[in-house]
Amino acid sequence: MSNFTEEQELIDGCLAGNHRAQEALYNKYAAKMFGVCLRYSSSRMEAEDTLHEGFMAVFETLNRFESRGAFEGWVRRIMINTALKKYKRERVYQLMDFNADVMGESANENDFSPLQKMQTDDLIKLVQKLAPGYRNIFNLYAIEGYNHREIGEVLGISEGTSKSQMARARVILQAMINKQYDNEYEQR
C-alpha cells in the first residue's frame, strides 16, 4: 500500500483496477471527505452513505479526471455533487422545517463569543440540524465559496432565493448557537 506514494500513481493504479491502489486512495481522502459529507448530511449515518456513494462515483469516473487540476478538489466536488444529488433525489425541500423555538429566540448576530468557543463537532451538529435546503446553501456559500448565481444553478433555484435562504440559515444557526450557549450556562 505504501508503494503508492504519488497521487498520480494511485490514480493510475486505480485505473488499472488495482484494489490496493483503490484502498490507498480511499484511505488518503476518506477522513477529509467524511468531514464534507457530514456537513451536507443530517446525520452521521447519512454521511456514511454519501461517502460510500461518493467514493463509488470517484472510482467509476476516475478515468475522466484531468491531471491538470487538484485531485483533492475533484474528489471533494464529487462528494458534494453526490450529497446534492442525494438531496435532490429525496427532494426534501423542508425549508421551513427548522426548529421553530430556535427561531423564537432572539438571534443577536453580533454576539459571536459562544460561537468562537464551540468545537468543530458542535458546529457540525448545528449545521446538520439545519433544514436540508438551508444546509446546502450555507455549505455551498460559506464553506465551498460558491456565489449565489452558482448555487442557484446547482440547486435549481433563483439567485434571490439562494440569498434569502442563506440569510435565514445564518439567523437560524446564530439562534441555535445562542440557545446552546444559554443551556450550557444554565447547567453551570
Partner: protein, 472 residues
C-alpha cells in the same frame, strides 16, 4: 452587518477546513464490494437476461400448443403452429450462438482506432452531468467517452428498429436515459471488439423476436422454468357452450277492447291492470366471435284477473260461444243460462299456463373481465296449455267456472308468438359459471282471433329473469 455575516461564515469555514473525522471502517468494505460487483451488475446483457423470455420457453410453449390442440384445430392452423415451433427452435439455436459471444455482440461496432473501450466502470449519470455542465472542461478521457457514446447511439436506434422487443422499450421507459443503456455496454470488463455491426443482430434479433402465437396468446412464462406447463388457451374463435337455468317474475298486461260479443254480454269489463306472472326453464347457449345464439324451453304462467259483467240473458245465443269442443258433455240451455248468470259481476282469476320455446341472437360485450353485457333479440313461441281458473269471491276462490274457458283462446289459436327483447348482464363467478340478470320484454305479434268472446288481445310481458349458467 456584512462583516458580521462574513464573520460567522468564516468561523464555520475555519473550523471545517481542517476537519477530518475518521469514517467507520465498514464504508471502505462497502465501496470495495461495490467495485467488485459493479461490472457484473450493470452490464446490459444482465438487464436483458432478467426480462427476456427465453427461446427454450418459446419452443416449449409452441410444442405444447401443438400437442394439446392437435385434435381441435383445423389443419392449416396446425401447420402454422408447427411453423411457430420450428421458428422458435431456430431462435433457440441462434440464441446459443448469440450467448456464446459477449455482450459486445449485441452492441458491436466497427473497430475504430479513435475509440477506447474503457476497462473502468463509468457512472453514466456523472458522465452526463459533467457533459451538461458548461463549467466543466471535458478531459481527454471524457472526450473519448463522448465519442464512444456518439458512435454507438445510432446502433442503439438501429437495434430498436430491428428488435422491437418490449424489453428495450421498457428499459427506456423506466427512466433510463439512452446513456444509461449505452454506457454499461461500453464498460464491459474486458475490451472486446466484435468484427462488424451487422454481426450483432441476426442471431440476437432472431432470438428476441416476438413470435405471433396464432391466437394461442402469449403466456406469462415463469423465468427459467422449463417445467412450465403451457396454459390451455382457448382460441378466441372457439365455440363456447353453456347450459343455463333461469327463472323470474314478470308482469303482463293485455290491451282490452271493451267490445263484448253482443250474443254473450252487453258489457264486458276486464282489468287492465298488469297481472303477475312467472317463468322458468333451461337454455342452451352458444357463443362464437362474441355472437350468442341461445335456445330455451320453459314454462310460464300468467295469472290474470278480470271482472266480467254480463247483462244479456239470451241463453240460446250463448250455445256456440260457450261450447267447448273438449267438453263431451252436451250442454243444456239451462246450464248455459245458469252458467251465464252465475258469472255475472264476478271477478275471475284465469291462469294461463304456457310451454314456451325461445330463440334469440345476442352480442356479447365484454364490459370487464368479470362482466358481460349481452343485448338480445329473438322470438318466443308459447303454447297455451291450460287456462282454467277459480271464480273469486271477495278475493278468494270459491268455485270454478267455465268463464275461464270462455276467456280462453280458441283451440286452434293457442300458439302465442312474441318478439323477445332482453339485455342480459352476466357476472363471471368462475371460469365455468356465470350469474346473470336479464330484464326482458316479450311483445306478442300474432293476434289470437277469438272464438271465445273475451280473448284475442295481444299480450305484453315485462320482467326480469335470474340465471345461472355452466360452461362445458
Amino acid at each position: 452587518m456584512s462583516n458580521d455575516k462574513e464573520h460567522i461564515d468564516d468561523i464555520f469555514k475555519n473550523h471545517f477546513e481542517e476537519y477530518e473525522p475518521t469514517p467507520p471502517g465498514n464504508v471502505w468494505s462497502r465501496v470495495k464490494n461495490g467495485l467488485g460487483n459493479s461490472n457484473a451488475e450493470e452490464t446490459l446483457y444482465n438487464k436483458f437476461d432478467k426480462h427476456q423470455p427465453q427461446p427454450p420457453q418459446w419452443v416449449w410453449t409452441s410444442l405444447s400448443n401443438i400437442l394439446k390442440n392437435r385434435q381441435k384445430i383445423k389443419l392449416y392452423k396446425r401447420v402454422a403452429a408447427a411453423s411457430l415451433f420450428f421458428i422458435s427452435l431456430s431462435g433457440l439455436i441462434a440464441s446459443q450462438f448469440a450467448a456464446s459471444s459477449t455482450i459486445d455482440s449485441l452492441f458491436s461496432f466497427e473497430k475504430d482506432d479513435n475509440l477506447i473501450v474503457q476497462t473502468t466502470p463509468i457512472n453514466p449519470i456523472i458522465l452526463q452531468e459533467q457533459a451538461l455542465n458548461p463549467a466543466h472542461t471535458p478531459s481527454i478521457a471524457a472526450e473519448k467517452n463522448y465519442t464512444l457514446f456518439t458512435k454507438r447511439q445510432p446502433i442503439i436506434k438501429d437495434i430498436l428498429a430491428k428488435v422491437n422487443t418490449p424489453i428495450l422499450e421498457n428499459m427506456i421507459a423506466d427512466n433510463h436515459n439512452l446513456s444509461d443503456i449505452v454506457i454499461p455496454a461500453v464498460i464491459a470488463s474486458e475490451p472486446t471488439v466484435i468484427p462488424s455491426p451487422e454481426a450483432f443482430s441476426l442471431a440476437s434479433v432472431f432470438a428476441n423476436i416476438s413470435v405471433p402465437t396464432l391466437g394461442f396468446g402469449i403466456p406469462n412464462i415463469p423465468q427459467n422454468n422449463l417445467n412450465y406447463r403451457a396454459p390451455r388457451h382457448k382460441k378466441p374463435n372457439a365455440i363456447e357452450t353453456s347450459i343455463e337455468i333461469f327463472g323470474g317474475a314478470s308482469s303482463t298486461f293485455r290491451k282490452i277492447d271493451n267490445n263484448a260479443d253482443a250474443h254473450v254480454a252487453s258489457i264486458r269489463k276486464e282489468s287492465e291492470k298488469a297481472s303477475y306472472a312467472n317463468q322458468w326453464g333451461i337454455k342452451f347457449n352458444i357463443v362464437k366471435n362474441h355472437l350468442l345464439f341461445t335456445n330455451g324451453i320453459g314454462v310460464s304462467q300468467y295469472n290474470y284477473t278480470g271482472t266480467y259483467i254480463f247483462q244479456k240473458e239470451d241463453s240460446i245465443n250463448l250455445r256456440p260461444n260457450f261450447q267447448s269442443p273438449n267438453d263431451p258433455k252436451p250442454f243444456k240451455q239451462e246450464d248455459y243460462y245458469k252458467s251465464y248468470t252465475s258469472i255475472a259481476n264476478t271477478n275471475v282469476l284465469t291462469n294461463y299456463k304456457f310451454v314456451s320455446v325461445s330463440s334469440a341472437l345476442g352480442y356479447v360485450l365484454n364490459a370487464s373481465k368479470k362482466i358481460n353485457i349481452i343485448p338480445q333479440i329473438g322470438i318466443n313461441t308459447a303454447y297455451l296449455m291450460s287456462n282454467i281458473g277459480p271464480k273469486l269471491n271477495a278475493g278468494k276462490p270459491t268455485e270454478y267456472t267455465k268463464m275461464a274457458e270462455a276467456n280462453s283462446l280458441s283451440l286452434n289459436q293457442r300458439m302465442m308468438i312474441s318478439a323477445a327483447f332482453a339485455i342480459k348482464v352476466n357476472y363471471k363467478v368462475c371460469d365455468k359459471m356465470n350469474l346473470g340478470i336479464e330484464p326482458f320484454m316479450n311483445s306478442q305479434v300474432n293476434r289470437q282471433t277469438a272464438t271465445s268472446p273475451l280473448g284475442g288481445q295481444k299480450l305484453t310481458a315485462k320482467g326480469v329473469n335470474l340465471s345461472l349458467s355452466y360452461k362445458f
